[in-house]
């Protein structure tokens, strides 16, 4: 194992972090919007949100990424490797986080709405001052769980050629022939990224309220 190979894998680890972080942030906006669609009283919007969520959850990420990278160009939409990976991971995050957001909000007891409404608060005030602070706390553990699986799922992007941690590992193996050691190193790298994030969950929960 050369110093160069190790550096190569570590640098690719930064790509794993970059694509995951961007997908999470963009996906969170998409998820908030989707959660809103799924909770309005307008049936058509509920249906649109439902179909999108089920499509994302019911098909493999690998297929979604292949579709975006290999099939969309046939329809004239050509995205770079990085953009394809980012779009697929963002779309996934949008669907999964939308369900976490919706479930967290709907888990707040109706009595909280009643109390706030009977005190004269507007719907917006109720959501911002009463419901969200409680819902965010509930959403933290599943969100942290989702972030760690997002980081690991970003390895699927190696199949369309994105040089992130997993692909860098495979390239290093081809160069050095040291399969076991290299895979071990890549595994450790994922762990080092994910473990602190898992540990964060508890301390964030305590800080929220």
């Amino acid at each position: 194992m050369t110093y160069d190979s190790i550096l190569f894998i570590l640098k690719a680890g930064l790509m794993t972090i970059e694509v995951s972080a961007l997908a999470f942030v963009a996906g969170l906006f998409l998820a908030t919007f989707t959660a809103y669609l799924s909770m309005t009283k307008i049936k058509v919007l509920n249906l649109i949100a439902w179909v999108y969520i089920q499509l994302m959850r019911g098909t493999p990420l690998l297929m979604q990424m292949f579709f975006i990278f290999f099939s969309l160009p046939i329809l004239g939409i050509r995205l770079s490797i990085f953009a394809s990976a980012l779009v697929a991971l963002t779309a996934n995050t949008g669907a999964f986080m939308a369900e976490i957001i919706r479930a967290s909000i709907q888990s707040i007891k109706k009595g909280q709405w009643d109390a706030a409404e009977s005190l004269g608060l507007s719907r917006m005030q109720i959501i911002i001052k009463v419901i969200l602070p409680q819902a965010i706390r509930i959403a933290i553990p599943p969100t942290i769980g989702y972030i760690t699986s997002l980081i690991k799922n970003s390895s699927v992007a190696s199949t369309i050629g994105l040089v992130e941690a997993t692909r860098a590992g495979r390239l290093a193996i081809e160069r050095t022939g040291q399969g076991l050691l290299t895979l071990f190193l890549v595994g450790v790298l994922y762990f080092i990224i994910c473990f602190p994030i898992s540990k964060l969950s508890k301390s964030i929960e305590k800080k929220v309220y």
Binding site: K109, D114, A116, S118, L119, G120, L121, K129
Partner: protein
């Protein structure tokens, strides 16, 4: 002060309130009794429009609640005048006691934080919980939480307060601390509508009693009329079971 006129309410095909009419004069304490499913809570929830009804109207002073959609500004005005305390207290668990109380005065009445706090402390004192101002709701007993909920409602300076079975979820020895607060409120002249199974409270504090069953008012009148000399057979039967 409050007029309920010909109110009907349906849940799909279920006729929950049937032609309900009654008046609540200023300073009176109206107790609503009846078996479960009678529509007691439903009519209370209609009075501050947590529930929408299908026909009739409810008038609070010069403000009118009508079936169907209403503007938020009208709702806000109604809910500011009408306080509501529920069986399950519903304190906001992410806020400490004092913040629970000043939230609505700040957001809805636009009170300054300092004024809202001073006001809130007065009400906490009134319900005997001034020392709990900085506690989390989760660290209070059920009776204490319910008293905070009453203080939270009073901090909005309502003209009338609705109590919806506020002692039903409490341990027997905690019930009296809540009833005492309600009794002293009544003595100060607060207009109240109380749904309760506490007949002792009804006898000693109520000025008017309404007996409801299956969505209808069976009998209404003074305490002497309804609790002591009921005329309807169904009222007599019900009272014989609960007294």
């Amino acid at each position: 002060m409050l007029e309920v006129k010909n109110v009907d309410k349906y849940y799909n095909t279920f006729h929950a309130l049937k032609d309900i009419s009654f008046n609540v004069p200023k300073g009176s304490v109206t107790v609503i009794i009846g078996p479960s499913g009678a529509g007691k809570s439903t009519i209370l929830r209609c009075i501050n429009r947590l529930e929408v009804f299908n026909s009739g109207f409810i008038k609070i002073g010069n403000k009118k609640i009508i079936p169907g959609k209403m503007r938020y500004n009208d709702l806000k005005e109604i809910r500011t005048r009408v306080g509501y305390v529920a069986q399950s207290y519903n304190l906001f668990p992410h806020l400490i006691v004092i913040e629970n109380i000043i939230l609505a005065p700040k957001l809805v009445l636009h009170q300054k934080v300092k004024a809202a706090r001073d006001n809130a402390m007065q009400f906490l004192e009134k319900v005997g919980l001034a020392d709990k101002a900085d506690s989390k709701p989760e660290n209070l007993s059920g009776g204490e939480q319910q008293r905070v909920a009453i203080a939270r409602t009073l901090a909005m300076n309502p003209e009338i307060v609705l109590f919806d079975e506020v002692t039903s979820a409490l341990d027997p020895e905690l019930i009296s601390e809540v009833l005492n607060v309600m009794t002293s409120l009544a003595q100060e002249g607060m207009t109240m509508i109380v749904v309760t199974h506490e007949m002792g409270f009804a006898r000693s504090v109520a000025t008017d009693v309404i007996f409801m069953e299956q969505g209808s008012i069976v009998e209404k009148g003074s305490v002497a009329d309804v609790l002591v000399n009921p005329k309807e057979a169904r009222t007599i039967q019900f009272l014989s079971k609960v007294l």
